[in-house]
Every structure is written in C-alpha cells, then in structure tokens.
C-alpha cells in the first residue's frame, strides 16, 4: 500500500479545487438561476480525458462536462491547444444538455504541455431562441432553443477572441449578461489553473498523476463495494412523462432495467418510448446525470467522483428515444424525463431498499417574461423558476415546498421578491404554501407552492411547467397523487383563463396577473392509515384543510377546537 496519508491529502486538494472554483464562478455570474452556487458543475480532467475530480454541486449537470470534454478533444487535440485558451461549447448532441446550458473548457499547461483540463457548465441568461432566457415551452428543434455553439475558442492564448464574443452577443437578448455568465466560467478556469499548478509544483507532475491513478482505483473499489451490497439480479421500474406541449394528450414512458452482477451495474433504458416532437427529450449526458444521481442515493455519497467511479457502471440509452434523442431534437424541457429516470430507478430498487423509497415529487415550473422597460426603454427578460417539492418517503412525509434533492443547492425561497420588484416592472401579490396540494398518504407528499404576480408592463409571457401537471406526481404503496399544478391568468376576473402547462410568448397587457401553482409531491401508503394526530397537526398548521382531512384521510377535525373527533373518525374510516 502506498502512503495513505498522501493520497488523502491529494484527494482533499482535488475536491477542494473542484468545489471552490464552482463557488467562485457562481459569485461573478449574472444568470438569475445561478444566484446560488448550486447550478455550476465544475470538473478537472487529465490529458487522456479521464475525470480527475468533480464538484458534487450542480448534480443535474454532473455528467455533461465529462462527456463534453471527450468531444472537445476530438475537435481540439492537445497539440492544437495553447496556454491561456478557453473553449466554449454547448452542442447537446455532443455532451451538452440544451443550448442555454453552456460549457467552458480551459487547458492547464505545465512546461509547455497540457497537464490537466478544467471544464464547467452552467445555465446562462439568454442565448436567443424562440423566447427569452432560452427556455421556450414549445420548441421542436434545437434551433428554436438558442444559438448552437460548436467547440470554439473564446480566448486564444489568454486574449479574448472578439469574433466569437461578437457572434454570441449578437444572438442574445441580454448580451451583457450572457457574456458575464460565460466569463464567470472562464474566471473559474483561471483559478483552477492556478490551483492545479500549485499541486503540480508541490508533488511533481508524474507523481501527482500516479497518485491520481491510485485515487481512481480507490473510487472504483468503493463503488464496487457499494454495488456488491445490492443483491445480484434484475430490477425494473418505470415512470411517465406527460404531453410535450406539441402533440396533445400523448404521454411517454421511461423504463429502467437494472442488472447487478457482483460489483458491476448496468442501467438499460431500451424499453423507453421513442423521442418526442416537443422539448421533453433528455440528451444522453442529461440522462446519464439522472442515473448517477439516483445511484448515489444507494451508495456511499462520499465516494470521490472520478473516472474510477464510472468504471463499474454501464449504461444503455437507445438512440432515438426520449432518453437519448436524435439530432435535431429539442431538449430544454427535459427535467421531467430526468426525474422519471430517477423515479424509475428508486422504484426498481424499492424491494431491496424499502426504507429509501420516495414517491415522485413535482418538477420545475418556470415563469418567463420579456418586454421593454417602461422607465428605461431597455429590453428585459425575467425568469422566476420553482422546483417541484418532494414526494412522501416510505418512512416520513415529503419536505414541504423544498426542491427535490436532484436540484440540491436550489431552495424553495430561492429568489427574493424585493429583488425582482426592484429590477422588473412587476409586483408580487402572494407567495404561499399551496394548501391540500401534498399527495395524501400514510406519509403526506410535500405541499406545492402558490405564487402570484402582476405585470406592470406589456410583455411576452412564457409559461413552462416542465411536467406532472396533467399527470400529477403519483402516490406509492396506496398513497394518492399530489395536486397537479399549472397556471391561471387574471384569476377571479371576468377574463380569467388557464393556459396549458407549456405555452410560449403569450402577449399580455400591463396589469395582467399570473398565478403559478407548483404541483405537490405524491403520497406514500394508505392515507386512512395516517395517525389522526398528524392530520390534526397539518390542519392546525394549515397544510391540509378540514374538508380534505375528512375527504382524503377520513379524519374528522372539530371546527372550533381543532381536536380530532375520534368517534366520527372511526366511523368515517370504517366505511
């Protein structure tokens, strides 16, 4: 055995570098998505393109950079790179996710040769496409989703490549912000380079690579140990994705077939439905990120992420399916499909991990608007995203309002109202827990959200509820579905109407009020088995109404004292 202390030192140093540069980059970003560090994925690779270290933030993007980097090396072999180069890249048929998720790569040179490569990805503020912020709800081709950037040099030997910058700026509704975001990723790369060079200086390049090899072997060993704890066999699960915003009433199924053989695991999604015309398809790397996230829920989450981690894992994502579509499929609304991948894996493992089962939760809802500011005349593009709350677990309730852990780093109250009102012509009316939206069950699904905003200027509105509105998050083991969300325009007025979950560029006048309803998570177990005192507490705190307590849980609550009427409850539940 080599020096276990030295290996630990290097592992820590690599983890810290990957983590820090992400946090660092987030601090200079402009995108409203990235006001917390959670949505930046950063990674370090060796010259052979093997993953050396990766932040565990930005999990939904985790695998994109790894695959994007391999594709980069096909276009830009190491010999073609210069010290100080930085590449920008977003092709979602070559590692990307959708055009607005942009990758930046930067080689780290040592003694005239590429020693390491830094890569990072985050969502940028706007790269064109059908609607503002590059998140159109009804795209059918990648061209509708924004500017597609092949692997090109943003910096040449440390100097900005003005041709590329001008091309990007000309294709964005918010040229300043988008370049601010991309530059933040470059800043992270500059910092990563400094830090990796310090490591090389300290341990020597050869020695460092030798240690990294050992660390990869160690991660492989830990991963295999974790997989070996799952009994050999085949496990199956599936979950549904609702209509794509293009073809009415058609849904899509994601099917997982997992095979464990000793320390090897195979994820086979060949039973999944063909790709959709709408943008609910998940690119290859995006699907892979979902698989890896789900797997980590069943392994030791502290296993360092490097190439060794991936060695025991094989994946079959059939080309042309909803989990790996053919060019030029649109992909920006893919998160429902990714969550379906996660949910089908969790359900597949339910027989062997009964205490780690979680019912499906809600999916992200994004409200987007764009217009000209009445005061300044500037173009503005507004984005207020919410992430679906958690489903109930087999051992406890789902967490109310909190984003599914797939979006770790995003919080339910992620963006302050005061901030939005200061920046955009709008006024919020309310932001509340959506009562009765959590799926009834022995364990209740997390409640969804209700948010209402009045726009003070004419604008083009895009409503983009990713999934699980018309087919709400399903219950498990006898639990009931959560309440499906959606949108109401001008609620309570004569001209009130409900747009479909996904609709792009609805021109609305000043004074328009939009109500956003974020679906609640699915319940777990028979709601009539829920202890009446828990139902009473939910009623007291206002998460469940008295009517729903009786209807969904068979629990009668006294209207004045808030106590459980045990006799009436027994009668109701006995039926």
């Amino acid at each position: 055995m080599k020096d276990p202390v030295l290996r630990e030192v290097v592992q820590n140093a690599l983890d810290t570098i990957a983590d820090e540069v992400g946090v660092f980059a987030a601090r200079s970003a402009y995108s409203p998505f990235v006001n917390q560090s959670g949505e930046i994925a950063t990674a370090i690779f060796d010259p052979q393109g093997r993953l050396v270290a990766q932040t565990k933030r930005g999990l939904a993007h985790a695998c994109a950079v790894r695959i994007g980097q391999r594709e980069l090396l096909k276009d830009w072999p190491l010999e073609a790179m210069e010290d100080g180069d930085a590449f920008v890249f977003n092709d979602h048929f070559r590692g990307g996710i959708h055009p607005t998720d942009v990758m930046v790569f930067r080689p780290v040179f040592h003694q005239g040769r590429v020693a390491f490569i830094y890569g990072a990805m985050m969502i940028v503020s706007d790269l064109g496409g059908l609607s503002a912020a590059g998140l159109p709800a009804n795209a059918t081709e990648c061209f509708h989703e924004g500017l597609i950037i092949p692997a090109v040099r943003l910096y040449k030997a440390g100097q900005p490549n003005h041709d590329v910058v001008a091309m990007i700026e000309a294709n964005s509704r918010t040229p300043r912000r988008v370049m601010g975001d991309i530059r933040a990723l470059v800043a992270g790369g500059n910092m990563a380079a400094v830090r990796m060079l310090e490591l090389i200086e300290k341990y020597g390049c050869e020695n460092l690579l030798a240690i990294i090899n050992e660390l990869m072997d160690r991660s492989e060993k830990l991963t295999r140990q974790g997989i070996e704890r799952i009994p050999d066999g085949t496990y199956q699960g599936s979950y549904i994705v609702e209509e794509d915003g293009i073809v009415p009433d058609k849904s899509y199924r994601v099917r997982a077939r997992i095979t464990i053989e000793g320390g090897d695991i195979k994820f086979d999604f060949s039973g999944s439905d063909p790709q959709a015309r709408g943008a609910v398809n998940a690119s290859y790397s995006q699907s892979l990120s979902g698989i890896i996230f789900a797997l980590l829920c069943f392994l030791d989450p502290e296993i360092p992420m490097n190439e060794g981690f991936f060695r025991p894992i094989s994946v079959e994502l059939p080309l042309g399916s909803i989990v790996n579509p053919r060019y030029p499929a649109a992909c920006n609304i893919r998160i429902g499909t990714v969550q379906a991948i996660v949910d089908s894996i969790i359900q597949a493992f339910a027989p062997v991990f009964p205490d780690r089962v979680q019912a499906p939760g809600g999916t992200p809802h994004s409200l987007l608007a764009a217009g000209r500011h009445p005061r300044t005349g500037d173009m503005w593009a507004f984005l207020d995203p919410h992430f679906g709350p958690c489903g109930a677990r087999s051992t406890r309730d789902g967490v109310d309002c909190m984003p599914d852990p797939l979006f770790a780093g995003q919080s339910a109250y992620g963006r302050n109202i005061e901030n939005y009102e200061l920046e955009f012509p709008l006024r919020y009316e309310r932001f509340q827990v959506w009562r009765d939206s959590g799926g009834p069950g022995k364990w209740r699904g997390g409640c969804g959200l209700l948010k209402e905003v009045t726009f003070l200027a004419e604008n083009d509105l895009t409503v983009r509820a990713v999934d699980r509105c018309r087919i709400p998050p399903q219950g498990l083991a006898g639990g009931k579905p959560g309440k499906g969300g959606g949108w109401i325009i001008n609620r309570g007025r004569p001209d009130e109407w409900n747009p479909p979950p996904k609709q792009t560029n609805i021109r609305v006048p000043a004074g328009t009020m939009v109500t956003q309803l974020v679906s609640g998570g699915g319940g777990y177990g028979d709601p009539f088995q829920r202890p009446p005192e828990l139902v009473a507490r939910d009623v007291q705190e206002g998460f469940v109404s008295i009517e729903a307590a009786a209807r969904d849980y068979g629990v009668v609550i006294d209207r004045t004292g808030g106590e459980v009427d045990l006799e009436a409850t027994r009668r109701l539940r006995g039926r």
Partner: protein
C-alpha cells in the same frame, strides 16, 4: 496605596469560564478558569470574578471595564430553546419560513431520511398585515389599521414571548413597521419586539426577516441573562457597565445587546480573532492569520491591515462544519469571518471502507474524551496521537492538574488503526497528526488562498490549548514563514475581549449606478448613518474625540447578484468619490476574478461603522534577558518527528521562565500550564519583548 485600574474579560465556553483580569501597567494578567454552570451561567461568572479578584487583591471599585463573550445566543439556537415567537409580515407573504431557504447540503443531499429543521416560528403564530410599499418606499396600499389591530389581537391571544416584524420594502420606508410595532407594544406590553427596519434595514426580505426573527428568538433570554449579570456585578460592587462582544468583534453595552440580540450570536469566536489583531499590531504585524484549536473544532480567521475580516453571509442553526454553514437561517449582521473545521484535540481517527485513515469530524468530546483520559474512551483521538508522539507531557497535563494514561493512547491507536493498516502505532499516530494538520490547513486555505490571498504574506498566531502543538506543521503547508504563540494561549480569547472597541454598524440600501450617483447623495446617506451611530456612542458616554468612522459600499456590476464591499476612503466626499469607488471595485474585481468586464457598476448597500475607541490595557515590552536558556530547561523527553523519522531526545522548557531575547533551536518542547508548544527540527523559537514565542525556519 495608589488607585489601581483593572480590566476584566470573561469568556464562557462549553466546559470552562475563562476570566482575565488585567491590571493597567502590570505585565502579567491574573487568570481564572472555573467550570461553566449551564443551569445559570451567572454563577460560573461570579465564581471566576471572586477567584480572580482575590488573586489580584483588587477592590470591586477598581474595575474600570468588564467585557463579556457569551455563547448563550448560539446555544439557544442550536438547542432550539429560544422564545415562543410571533411573526408579522405583509399580506400574502406569511409563509416565508415555511417555504424556507434551507436545503440539504453535503451528504444529506442523498439522505432519504433528511428532515429540514422546523421553522423557529409556528405557522399559526404568523399574522399578515394589509399594506404594501414599493422598492422606493412609496405606499402602494396604506396600512389598514383596523385589519392590523385585529390581527395583532389574534396574535396576542396566542401569547408569544417575542415578535419579529418584517414588512416588504421596509428598508426603504420604516413607517408601517413602526406603526405595527406600536400596536404590538400596546396589545402585549413588555413583549420583546424586533423590527427589521431597526435590526438590519437592508433589501432582500428573506435575509432581513430571518435576521430579525433570530434576534427576537434569542432576545428575551439575552435581556434577562444580561440584566441579571449586570445586577449581580453591581451587587458585588463593580459599578462600570457591562459590555458584550458582538459577532463583528466590536463590543456594545449590555442594554443594547438585549435590544439587538442577534448581534452577539457569534460572540465567543470573535474574541480570539480580536486578540490576534491587537497582539499583532503591538508587534508591528498588521496582517495575521488567527488559529484557534479547541476540543472539537479549529477556527481560522484573517486580519488584514490590523482589521479582522467580516462577512455578511452567515447562517445559524446547524452544526459547525464549514459546509453546513451554507444551510441554517441566514443572518446579515456583520460576523467575523471564520473558517471552522471539525478537527480538534478530541477528533476521532478511523479507517474508511476504502482503507484510508481519516480524522474527525466525530469527536470524543470531554466525556468520554480521548483514550488517555482514562474516562472510558476507547477511540483514538488527536490528543492520543500527541501523547504517543511525545508532544504532550503525561505528568503536566493542565499544569499537572489532570492525570493521563499514555499506554491507553498507544493501545487505542494500535488496536483500532495500526493492526488494520499494518502500520506501527507510532507511524499511525504520526498519520493522525498529519491528517489533523491537513484538515486544519483546509480552514486556512478557505480563508486565504480561496479568496486569492497569499498566506505567505501573513504571520499566523496560534492559541487554544492544542493550537501550539500543531501550528508549525499547519503553517508549513503554505510556507507561512512566521508562527507566533502568545503567552497563556489557553486564555487568549478572554484577553481579546479587553482589546476591543465599541462600535455600531448601520446600513441602508440605495441602488444607483455609479455614473449617476452624486456626491450629494453619498454625503446625505453616509451622514444619516453616521449620525445614528454617533448618537448611540454619545449616549453610551464615548467622547467625540474617541469616535472613528468607517464607511463602505456594497458594489457590483449591474445585474449581478453578489456584491463586493468597497471601503470609502476617509475624508470628505467629493465629486470624484463615486468614480474612485467604481475604480477600486473594478480593480479588486480583476484581482479576484482575472477578468475585466466593461459593464456599468452600481452601488447597492451603504454601510457605516462608527467606532468608539475604548481605553485598553497597555501591553508593555519586557527588557532583554540574559539569553541563558538553560534557566528554563525542565528536562529531556523522547519525541517523534518526521524530519528525524523516529524518536529523538528533545529538550523540554518551562515557557513561563523564558525571557525576551531567548533563542531555542528545534526540536524543542515548551510547556506552560494551559498549553504546549512544539518546535520541530529545522525551526527555531525566539522570545520577543512581549514574551510571544516567534517560530520560524532556522
């Protein structure tokens, strides 16, 4: 006898209450260490006061200043024993803390059993008020008094101990909050009320509300405790007012600490950083890293230009690891920036499933404690490793007050680690020592390198009982050239209390692009903030000549979400000031991020700290000694060093007998009752005029 002057610093920790009594003009302070009395900490403080006063033979009337650091607020939050809260906000937004900004971090992200901490306020204790302002503070909807009165009555019926009020955009116009505050006072006389427009009037409602909520949560108990302590001290004859350390490292009168309770949340750790800053200034070193190693964690702070770094991104209510600080409820008040890692004397060493040696974050604590305590601990800890390596003297633990069993350390390491790693117990002990040093190094890294600061330009000061054992090897990781160990490192924090000034921080949000900001605007905003602080200080008895004003602006590129705090140079604000601040921002931004955007820059928050310089004990240099170090030699002991790849005979010195000008070459061990300093081979110790140990490469 001539009138003597005493300064008293009291720091309450988990186990001990430390008290330092400093007599003006005398070199050595009197120290008292008594057991903390958790049921009522006032008792422990009074025990320490009596002990130290007796030692010094001091009369209560001779005590001129008492400064106190308390973990009361922190513990109330961690143990969730604070006030029964009511929360008042604008109609439509009462669910703020139930929607919540908290989310799982670290390994909790994959934890199927994760539970988000319950909000500090129950949902039925929230009332919403029919009113609305916009971001300019203009009234969109007037306060509906009838509705508000009825909501307040409903809340009063639920009998809260304290109420926090945060209405939307109240930073821009506090009128509605004040009106609601008066209604609350009328409906519930004597109930503790905290208004966000008073506690921290900065835009961003969630953070402003949670800062206010935390203040209300700890307020009533803080007010009660401080009131009683002040009264008891008066009863004892100590007439000077009690002062409380704030999280920012400045102090405030106890009466204000009761009103703005959230300001003392991180009272304890701040003191050590202040001690480092002041001791550093005394020896002409304005740039220092403070390193405080205790039983379960190590805390590292940064001092630049004589001033501790202060952050406004702090979260409370979760465990202490650096990562976990990302969760919990945010507080926006200034907090001394510390990186904290779970590595201390009690941290347990173990082997992970991949076969790697690991240290911490689990700690054996005080009970059962390290194996060598003989109190039932069987897990090997960092302290055990230090015993096996010969760094700690089994016969002189806590100055000989506590017996330890070295063979148990060796046994625990051999059994739990050595056999499984096929490693000699001594090498395993050295592995523990090295790993602990690396973890603590990561805290140094977070506070320096991660922010683009080169630690080699700093000296590091080590304190806490265990700090001086490890510090040289922690500093070596970064090639930090100078390590300083102050006298009595075990009570340095209490000493720091005496070195602090009074200060009030006031802030306001005014978002304006630099190019359209006028000098008049800046003058008006800063004058208002400055006057508010001056009024407080003057009321507290600070003379105008002792007041120092520090101004700064949170600045960012337009559309960015993170600001950088830019100091405003002293002196009058002129037409050139906005542009000068913009330029400082652009330069600093380039220094940090190595990119130079051409985007417009905007000012966001304006902050003023008004400092009242307090009279402090003067630390006096001592005359040079004879340089004859054998005077302090206690004997020899076998100690293990990586440089010698084995045990070597090592000189052991009595630190308290060392004199200014003494020079000792490593390897050497320097013992004093509350700490041990290790000087490894290749290093040398010099004793400076203030009796600090200054350690550097030979």
């Amino acid at each position: 006898m001539a009138q003597r002057h005493f300064f008293m610093g009291v720091d309450i920790g988990g186990t001990f209450t430390d008290l330092v009594l400093f007599e003006d003009g005398r070199q050595k302070p009197f120290n008292a260490k008594t057991l903390t009395t958790p049921a009522d900490p006032v008792d422990g403080v009074l025990n320490a006061v009596r002990e130290a006063m007796a030692q010094a033979d001091a009369a209560p009337g001779e005590v001129r200043r008492v400064v106190h650091a308390t973990t009361l607020a922190t513990n109330l939050i961690l143990e969730r024993k604070g006030a029964r809260l009511g929360f008042v906000t604008t109609k439509g937004f009462g669910d703020m803390f139930h929607i919540s900004k908290q989310y799982p971090s670290g390994i909790d992200r994959f934890n199927a059993h994760y539970e988000r901490p319950e909000p500090l306020v129950d949902r039925e204790m929230v009332i919403e008020i029919d009113e609305r302002l916009n971001f300019r503070g203009e009234v969109l909807k007037p306060l509906n008094e009838a509705q508000a009165e009825s909501a307040v009555r409903r809340l009063a019926a639920a009998k809260p101990d304290a109420v926090a009020v945060c209405l939307l955009h109240s930073y821009a116009n506090p009128a509605h909050e004040r009106a609601v505050g008066e209604m609350l006072q009328r409906a519930m006389p004597g109930v503790y009320v905290a208004l966000s427009s008073e506690v921290w009037p900065e835009f961003q409602e969630y953070e402003r509300a949670s800062t206010t909520l935390i203040s209300a949560y700890v307020g009533p108990m803080m007010a009660d405790y401080l009131g009683r302590l002040e009264q008891e001290l008066r009863g004892f004859g100590i007439q000077c007012g009690l002062q409380i350390m704030q999280s920012s490292g400045a102090v405030m009168p106890a009466s204000m600490a009761a009103r703005k309770a959230v300001y003392s949340v991180e009272s304890g750790p701040a003191a050590g950083v202040i001690a480092t800053a002041q001791l550093g200034l005394a020896i002409g070193r304005p740039n220092m890293i403070s390193f405080d190693m205790g039983g379960t964690t190590a805390k590292v702070g940064l001092i630049q230009h004589g001033r501790p770094n202060v952050t406004h991104d702090f979260a409370v209510g979760t465990s202490v690891s650096v990562q976990a600080r990302a969760s919990g409820e945010p507080i926006k008040i200034p907090v001394i920036d510390l990186a904290e890692v779970g590595a201390g004397g009690g941290s347990i060493a173990w082997i992970d499933p991949g076969g790697l040696l690991q240290v911490g974050p689990l700690s054996a604590g005080a009970a059962p404690g390290p194996a060598c305590y003989g109190l039932g601990g069987t897990q090997p800890t960092v302290t055990d490793a230090n015993v096996v390596l010969g760094y700690l003297n089994p016969d002189y633990f806590l100055g000989g007050k506590m017996k330890i069993y070295p063979e148990r350390s060796r046994g625990a390491i051999a059994r739990n680690l050595g056999e499984r790693l096929k490693l000699d117990p001594v090498l395993a002990a050295h592995g523990i020592y090295q790993l602990a040093n690396i973890h603590m190094g990561s805290a140094v890294r977070l506070i320096t390198v991660s922010r683009g600061i080169d630690p080699r330009e700093y000296a590091v000061m080590a304190f806490g009982g265990a700090g001086p054992i490890h510090i040289v090897k922690v500093a070596e990781q970064f090639n930090i050239p100078t390590v300083i160990v102050p006298p009595s490192p075990g009570v340095a924090s209490a000493f720091g209390l005496l070195m602090s000034d009074l200060a009030h921080d006031n802030v306001t949000t005014h978002i304006v692009q630099c190019k359209s900001a006028s000098a008049d605007d800046l003058r008006r905003i800063f004058d208002n903030l400055e006057q508010a602080g001056r009024r407080e200080l003057t009321n507290e008895g600070t003379a105008q000549k002792d007041i120092v004003v520090q101004r700064s602006i949170d600045t960012r590129f337009v559309h960015q979400k993170h600001e950088i705090n830019i100091p405003v140079p002293p002196g009058p604000i002129t037409d050139a000031t906005p542009a000068a601040i913009e330029q400082s921002f652009r330069d600093l931004y380039f220094e940090l991020f190595k990119v130079r955007p051409a985007d417009p820059v905007e000012f966001v928050n304006f902050a003023v700290r008004v400092v009242g310089v307090a009279s402090k004990p003067q630390i006096q240099p001592t005359p040079r000694g004879d340089g004859n170090t054998p005077r302090a030699l206690k004997g020899m002991r076998q100690a293990y060093f990586a440089e010698t790849s084995g045990f070597v005979d090592t000189r052991v010195y009595d630190r308290t007998a060392l004199m200014h000008g003494d020079r000792i070459e490593g390897p050497a061990i320097l013992e004093e009752p509350d700490s041990t300093t290790i000087c490894p081979p290749g290093y040398a110790v010099e004793v400076d005029p203030f009796l600090n140990l200054v350690i550097g490469k030979k």
